[in-house]
Subunit: 444 residues, 2 copies
Amino acid sequence: MQKIICDTLIDAGHVLPIAPENRAFKNHGLVLQGDRIAAIGPLPTLLENYAPKEHLSFPEGILIPGLINAHGHAAMTLLRGVGEDMLLEPWLRDRIWPMEKDLVSPEFVATGTELAITEMLGRGVTTFVDMYFFPEITADVARRAHMRCLLAFPIFEGVTNWARDVDDCFRLGFELHDTARGNPLIDVAFGPHAPYTVSRATLERVLMYSQELGLGVHIHLHETAAEVAAARAREGRSWIDVLDQIGLLNPQLQAVHMTQVTPAEVERFAETGAHVIHCPGSNMKLADGICPVNTLDAAGVNVAIGTDGGASNNGLDVLHDARLASLLAKTEARRADAGKASASLYKATLGGARAIGREDDLGSLEPGKLADVVVFTPASLAAWPLHDPFAALLHHGSAWNANAVWVGGRRTVADGKPLLIDTAALRGRIETQTRRIAALTARG
Amino acid sequence: MQKIICDTLIDAGHVLPIAPENRAFKNHGLVLQGDRIAAIGPLPTLLENYAPKEHLSFPEGILIPGLINAHGHAAMTLLRGVGEDMLLEPWLRDRIWPMEKDLVSPEFVATGTELAITEMLGRGVTTFVDMYFFPEITADVARRAHMRCLLAFPIFEGVTNWARDVDDCFRLGFELHDTARGNPLIDVAFGPHAPYTVSRATLERVLMYSQELGLGVHIHLHETAAEVAAARAREGRSWIDVLDQIGLLNPQLQAVHMTQVTPAEVERFAETGAHVIHCPGSNMKLADGICPVNTLDAAGVNVAIGTDGGASNNGLDVLHDARLASLLAKTEARRADAGKASASLYKATLGGARAIGREDDLGSLEPGKLADVVVFTPASLAAWPLHDPFAALLHHGSAWNANAVWVGGRRTVADGKPLLIDTAALRGRIETQTRRIAALTARG
């Protein structure tokens, strides 16, 4: 019988496809053709049916879909460690915002984003959602690194280092959308910062454009109790209520943080199909409160995982935050069988894909989906014994390295090293930004 | 002026001595002579005064005292991943305890302990407290790896794979104490498992011997709400009350977990000088509840950090658990300035030394103390920029590797590789144990 010629066959000791069954399979393989997954199955079967141009074998590896970091501010990686252990408001007001005012430029964003991508690739992330200034620069960097991203371009009322005013934000965002149209790696969404930094009129414009263009809306929502209390005092309702009235609770909504939610609000999210982006590392570090994920899960709300910016985590390790999600779920439920490792890994893959409207072609190892794929291999002897691959990645992720990464069928990491990042040049540019930051810190 | 000849001079970009000041110093060095720290200071000053036989420079490194893992069951590393996401009681009763019955032997303990030590060295741990069967085997393995340990030999009422009964536990423990006496790396303590697995009479014996011999008492205490409720039902008081009445609340007590404590109990700990070993990763994973560390800190109770066994974490990364300690403290206090990185690093070093009665010679970089020292260096570009070395280790520890480790002035890790572990042979022995475990799992 004639075998089917294909580009790549990858086999691994353990394969976790996430869907259609959230199970672990041993000694399975994946066939890639072009930018897609062509087949998945037991290795012997695949070898019988396919003639791959390239066959890569990872007998000690765990093969999963590329992880999706559903919320972050990539360039802020350069500010990691600035103003540690400060109360949230002084931290933002006295350290972060003044520094951003002085620092944020195309070069700052290019360097910080490339650094963030380098780190994320090292931890198996193939898609990141970014909400930061100069998203057109972020798009360039992602394109060169062959990294998939959703750019939630910022929408603020006043002047920022990037845009003159809110109209300028929209103008620049639409320009980005036009130029990105041809590139399958770059998606665009609206990124109205938060309901308290963006006017009602602007939110209504966002809804209108979002529906016209079929683009997502990515917003910080109910991050802290103080934020919700201020809304009640000012508006007489919560911000979720405000968004609901405008019509923004719908399947395009990507609501980040959501640490404070009433049962009625959970119900509205479930009814409307709006998504929640859970950022446990950041929420704990900034003492925001904890997103009630068990409740959201029980109500059928889709939850994805985000690391948030490097300055409030401080890693960009989606597995790390997925682990926190599991630990918090167990703690909140007071049951060790809550927050299952497989459920948290789902949130970090297919949950993320659903949140960004890409469940049809991302987030799981299924024929027809895009070939965004990661193989983790042991970083040391500490990886052994391997009794449970879900637990290995979730609860002992540090013993596993992202050895091999493919985005859209193209190899971007081999032997743990990123193939499309000039790390030496990047180091130099990081140094330059570090000196700028140090000069500011010394002055301030 | 004649320079002082010394064995080793280590310098690093950042030095965190923990005491006398919990601060970060730049471009400082450490002088080692024999098994001790001879001096610490700015590198130029040390170079003026000392003539080291060996000078090791880590300009990109962070130099700290060796981390102290104040609670664990090292050999259980072999059971990492067995019975994940199960409720606590069925997990222990139906998976772990039956498997231990079949598996625990000198070879199981030797292999599991050596694996645990290899992992811990890779994360900068130089002292571990262990509570497991065949502690005399653990002592052998630790001795060969030149790893410091406190062996809290188990005390159980009934028969175990190690001892016939409680008298046998004491007999074997005293034997261990005698043979270990000559070795500065091995300390011994009493390890009565928990107040509900050990009789009152046995606890009274432990107190008596502990005071006679000046040895510590290491016990699981108030790990779950169910445990405390059972005590109240059975004894009419809490287990802390029971230990208090016996007289076990004193500076030799190392109380592990302590997730449930009343204000009066916190007060008793503060008054008596008893120590708490905080195991946040394990407590969260097993849904035990969270130890109220902010309250303990405020009351002046000494808190140390433990990873617990590999099967309920699942790593043996003290920095990881120290990070959880910080995040939980911020979350509980609802203040981002709680749970400071420096405070959690203290718990993982000098707090641990105090808990095991070794604050005079361990836990900080001070002249006269034992030379248990670690240098972390960047694992990747993700380590940069480095704005805050405390935060770098606590909140971004995965970007840093334990490159160099000394225990008692002797180098045990170089270039991130353990010098005294035959990793190839160990891999083979892990395989053997893995097959035994797999056979049991298949049967069960």
